[in-house]
Symmetry: D2
Subunit: 295 residues, 4 copies
């Protein structure tokens, strides 16, 4: 976690604490006690007890006195006692910190353009450290936004080397998030496991409808009246990862598959941008195969 | 088709002509020529040439001089020539005629209540001639709206007799439409064929997601962020009939399956009411396994 | 507040506590301490600090051990200390309690029908104790649902007497909520003040667009592409009360004012039902002229 | 109208004919007769008779045999007879022709970025011939997309010169459309009249709510639950021009004005892109102060 000052940070430093633990009475009181003990002020707080997994999830934003680093250290120390008592799994980050991110693309530009534009506009807390394409088509767009572009072609034979190169880029840039912005390649099981919870994909259908290839053509064949997009965490189980966000758009009988593709691009980029934002703001927590999204 | 005057009819009698034929130049000119020749005025007109089936579809509303019956007879006669030339399949009805309809239900009231209320409010061109329930629960609701209720229980053993009774009710009432308003029973292939194109179902999911039983529970398990409903024509292929209308509603991680059911009921009744209205207004035409909906 | 057992109540009795106070650190810790001290378990909790008014708002659902009455009494007593320290304004109710409600109507049935149907379906925690109409048209609908109907005509001259009669009905039935379900009469300033925060109206436009009379005709004249409805608390300032919920529906140039009215009815009833549910579930808190809605 | 071949044109040349005239029987037959007489095939057709103005509107796409220029000339000649008989006002263009367009901006990039990206992606039939900014901030973005950028500052004193310069740019580039993509300057009445029907604006509210300055702040003050955007033709009557498209997005009490601005940008660009596309495809016709949109 890098703590350098960045312009998106609020004037008073704020911290976002996310945690989960087995659900039982007293958690909120214990956590709010830690915060109150440090003179912190809760500026946003959400909780959820999952009836399916029996776990409790919490996201809390805190304004803390002191310098940024001091505040975080004090909070970490004070949490230690509660962690043991409630068996907490937790994470702490500065609100507004730009998450180092690698975006992977193929030939289609709409999602990449949207993410880069929003990032530059200060509308997404990302620091896009690299764009990786299995085709060179989008190098110019990345360059316009000042982001290094890596052309890493993939064939059946070169997939292991390509994934090794991808991992090298992720690790050398310190990336904490990989966004598949219409990458169109399936990651190996090993890579999925290695980056679990840190890779977000956009699938161009309203899952679980129309898994697999050419979903707009499938949607056309079935004659649906709404098309959609789904952003989800990537797991080894293709198109089955935990869903973060979904969105739909109305269509009618006059639309051919090519028009569905064009209409769908708008839905895809909105859906992906929302999922990426919520992830970067630590609003998405995993509850088994489902997500808790504290919007 | 009954031509008696009813209060929903516009002051000047209007007719709705729907037709389809192999697509080729000159159809619109020929049909509009027939209408112009009778001094008719087109008040609404929509066309669609399907690239998949190569067929042309048209729906046209016409204000015709003369008494209602005369006008329709003249139009029928004048169309004869065009029918032969273009190999037309066609249908003619009076705008606003209340379509004799049987509604089939089980125990859940929300769709039935919605359809009966809209009908009484003059908001749906239906004449609900009977409500058939495999349970007696909704008899009171039907009675309140002055509609005869038939309790026709169905078990595995009595299904043939029950369907025979249903058919008898449909035929004796002159019903032209059967609406499965959360009927929860699967019709036999024979009945599906016999009533093909005249039975509309509401499925409580966004098809093709979550076919079959307990779709809201399936949706909960998968963690989707939108739930939906689908209204479609019933065919022997369960949940695969041509889709007329779909709608969705946003949900989040806090909703349990029971709450999804409750939220979904609102979506179901809106979706079904729209599909039924469009069918009754002759706005839905079949184009292979897909529908053309002239909204 | 009546505490009699009703079927909508959860198996383990739960309580909903809503509160507001000047915003400062430590509130959540103090309130959660009271709950933890009683062995209560928080099942749902939401907070909001308003930057405009500087006030803090909280809604918390708690499962408490002991019999229903004992639990509530203990919670009330334990809160006393916190109330003084933080200057709390608070309210306590049993989760699922049916709120005694008077619905006021004129001639249009769609909102009344919707509320009564949802209530009977167990989908709205209301106990509709009376329907009051300035016209007699909807007496039959009220009767079907077993609710007493009072015909209280209003003319310019009889308005004071009519409002006195309304107040008498509200007080004699113990109603805690008055819903104007397309009542079409303006309440006097005196009545608005007297029932402040307890009267919910549905306005048939997307406020602040098209205040006043015949909003669908105004919307038609302006050529808008979406029509809407707004549910709000009633204040002496007509159509300016705090907004609880709004919804819209797409329309196009083919819709005449009568069709906008029909389409709008669907939006109105959904919007009103949501606002009434949220109010009855203590999810709506007033923050100056705006509402905090803990959905 | 330029008829040079461009890549967006379909393989078989198609023409789009839009027309309006006083409504009376026989128009469709006459127009379709002209088309049939040339051996043309109607690929898309929509009609509307306005009950308010008594005028009839039609948009028809036609595939015509022959070279592009020959086809259009033949259609023009053949229409002459019908024009006189029905008092037609009409326009003819090639389907897919890129409309020469000037985009005017101030400092905010989201609408410009969206339009330029969509144009390059082949998703908008525009030929953006110039970007004009009263501030220089967006020059880099225009340059990236290969579009000349003109910095034309405007002060109260220099407004006439600035508008003269704008007109010069419009005329020298042959622009047929001017898009105010968050231009933030009010055009003079003279310019509005001169370019009437050819200037599209995006207003950042759901008109007629929140006319004038800082609409998101107005929306925040009023506590609305949906924010919106409106794209309309520019007239001398500020924010009162004919509406082409509107869209909304749900918000809640947690959103401050700055967040409403950010959320609204997404709505603005979608709304503007749709309005511009429909205009460029000749789908928008003026019916008094309202628009007919043949989507």
């Amino acid at each position: 976690m890098h703590l350098a000052n960045d312009p998106a940070a609020p004037a008073t430093p704020e911290w976002v604490l996310t945690l989960s633990c087995p659900d039982r009475p007293g958690i909120v009181h214990a956590v709010s006690g830690v915060i109150a003990g440090l003179g912190g002020n809760i500026t946003e707080s959400q909780q959820f007890g999952s009836p399916v997994t029996g776990r409790f999830y919490m996201r809390v934003q805190v304004a803390l006195p002191g310098t940024p680093d001091d505040g975080a250290d004090a909070l970490r120390d004070a949490l230690a006692r509660v962690v043991a008592e409630f068996d907490l799994t937790w994470d702490l980050d500065r609100v507004g910190r730009a998450v180092p991110t690698v975006i992977m693309v193929s030939k289609e530009a709409h999602c990449l353009n949207d993410l880069l534009f929003r990032q530059r506009a200060g509308d997404l807390p990302l620091d896009v450290v690299a764009v990786v394409g299995n085709h060179p088509d989008l190098a110019g767009l990345a360059t316009f936004y000042g982001v290094p572009f890596h052309h890493v072609p993939v064939t059946r034979d070169t997939k292991p080397e390509a994934e090794a190169e991808l991992l090298r880029i992720v690790e050398s840039t310190g990336a904490e998030l990989v966004v598949l912005a219409r990458y169109m390649q399936i990651l190996s099981d090993e890579l999925c496991v290695r980056l679990a919870g840190h890779v977000i994909n956009i699938h161009h259908s309203f899952l679980p409808s129309f898994k697999g290839a050419r979903p707009y053509h499938q949607a056309f064949e079935r004659g649906v009246k709404l098309i959609g997009a789904t952003s989800h965490y990537v797991t080894g189980d293709l198109d089955e990862g935990p869903i973060i966000e979904q969105e739909v758009e109305r269509v009618d009988h006059t639309r051919n598959p090519a028009e569905l593709v064009a209409l769908g691009q708008d839905v895809e980029r909105r859906t992906l941008a929302r999922a990426v934002r919520w992830h970067a703001e630590h609003r998405v927590l995993l509850d088994g195969l489902r997500t808790v999204v504290f919007r």
